[in-house]
């Protein structure tokens, strides 16, 4: 690795304009624009804050875990670090080769064969042509697809699709690894092997950002935890401390 990885977020805000039916329509937008000009009322647009002024720095060796309810901004933060969402406010900087495991079915097409899907994914990751056969061997061996590799994905069992997606996503080593929790799905036998492979990958990465609801996984793998709520980091510290607060809070909620 030529230089060490680094992640910096400085007052990063990401907001989603809500385009449900109404605002999707050109006619209605034009009519609304004309109407506001007439009545001189301000533009009212429904905006959801995915991230609200989030700041932090990660250095090599950092293993960051994200906890929080659904909709707390964990996936938005991962997508922002992956460069998919560009922030409305603030500054994000990520140094190092990034691999984002956000969607297990990324680029996978049910009508294409396993091999074709692997080739596409390899190209997505920017692998040179001569590296593709190695990628195919690696993925086929791990996913145990055997002769299914040349058949379309639509005839695969659900387990095979998950194995293929997992094998593909984890075949490419990265300096900065961004991971959503989907990888914990799958059958028990597969989970054991998946864990080993994932551990290798996590060890190989300089920085890990992992979003999960699984407290045990976070406790084992992470060195630092953000508890996120409504797009903000409401607690930041070592796993035992933050997870303790989080668990106390979430288990206390139904009683209160």
């Amino acid at each position: 690795m030529p230089y060490s990885a680094r992640v910096t977020a400085d007052h990063v805000s990401v907001s989603f304009p809500l385009y449900h039916g109404y605002a999707r329509s050109l006619k209605k937008t034009l009519v609304a624009a004309a109407a506001t000009r007439l009545r001189e009322s301000g533009r009212r647009r429904v905006v959801v804050h995915g991230l609200d002024a989030v700041s932090f720095t990660l250095a090599p060796g950092d293993r960051l875990g994200l906890v929080g309810r659904n909709g707390a901004g964990k996936t938005t933060l991962l997508r922002t670090l992956a460069g998919i969402y560009e922030p409305n406010e603030g500054h994000v900087s990520v140094t190092g080769r990034v691999n984002a495991l956000l969607d297990p079915s990324l680029g996978m097409n049910a009508e294409l064969t396993g091999r074709e899907n692997i080739v596409i994914r390899g190209m997505f990751a920017g692998l040179p042509g001569h590296a593709l056969p190695d990628l195919i061997d690696n993925v086929v061996a791990f996913a145990e697809l055997a002769e299914f590799i040349d058949l379309p994905l639509r005839i695969y069992s659900a387990g095979m699709v998950i194995r293929l997606g997992f094998a593909l996503a984890t075949a490419i080593q990265a300096q900065v690894l961004l991971m959503d929790e989907w990888f914990l799905a799958g059958d028990a036998a597969f989970l054991e092997r998946a864990k080993l492979r994932l551990e290798d990958m996590v060890k190989g990465a300089e920085i890990l950002v992992l979003s999960s609801h699984n407290i045990e996984v976070l406790r084992t793998w992470c060195t630092r935890i953000f508890w996120m709520d409504r797009g903000r980091i409401i607690d930041d510290g070592p796993p035992d401390e933050v997870l303790g607060h989080y668990l106390a809070n979430t288990t206390a909620l139904p009683a209160a």
Binding site: S25, T29, L106, L112
Partner: protein, 284 residues
Amino acid sequence: MSISTHEPGALSLEFRSNPSATVRNRLAIADLRQGLSLWRLWSTLGWFDIRLRYRGSVLGPLWLTLSTAVMVAALGVLYSQLFGMDLHAYFPYLALSLVLWNYISAAVADACACFTGSDGMIRSIRMPFTMYALRAVVRNVIAGAHNVIVVVVVFWIFSAWPGVDGFAALPGMALWLVDTLAVAVLLGPVCARFRDIPPIIASVMQIAFFVSPVIWRPELVGPRARSLLVLNPFYTLLEIVRAPLLGSLPTLAIWVSALGYSVLLCAVAAALFARVRGRIAFWV
């Protein structure tokens, strides 16, 4: 937002909010440059798109060829009667015009879906957006190429080979490729943001089909109307490829008009793309 590089698995990503126009333009240019460098990816994806569209069908993309052939035959007989034209002169003209128009209207319709059709990928990996536009260009060129068979067969039946002049169509075809990309980059984001644009585009294209000399010859209208025809971008863009393939060279006025409209299209597409590129991921 500013990004020093955003190749897949980029070694460095940098975003700063509220970028200046200069930064936005630089990002849009970087997007295009990186998009072009991913040629293996978009040509493969474009090729798979075509294979998938026709997987399971016996004739595959040749269904498109067959339906074009039937349409050419039916319209050829009907309109040569209606316009009182010689079948030998009209048939090659009609076959070529319809095939070229099919490409234009398919490319414009497909441009609308070039980002919304890949929403899953856009939300799970950072990619230059022009990669998706180039993929749409590839699949349209491949689909359009299947129709060339109809033209070749008709030219063969009527011995209407254009001769050396036919090569003069090449610059026009090159311009078409650039315009196809520009249309995708322009309509892709607009159609992602406003979902009622695609039907509007579809009806505009239908009107354009009838008011442009596609199935009728420009000579059929009076001299005054013909001088106005050069203002119709669909006509002049069609003509720079069609005329050479029918063995004549387009006039300078036609080339000037086709080039002028193309420059305008590219400028508008580039300006819009630079402005909204960072928002596309939120729209799809």
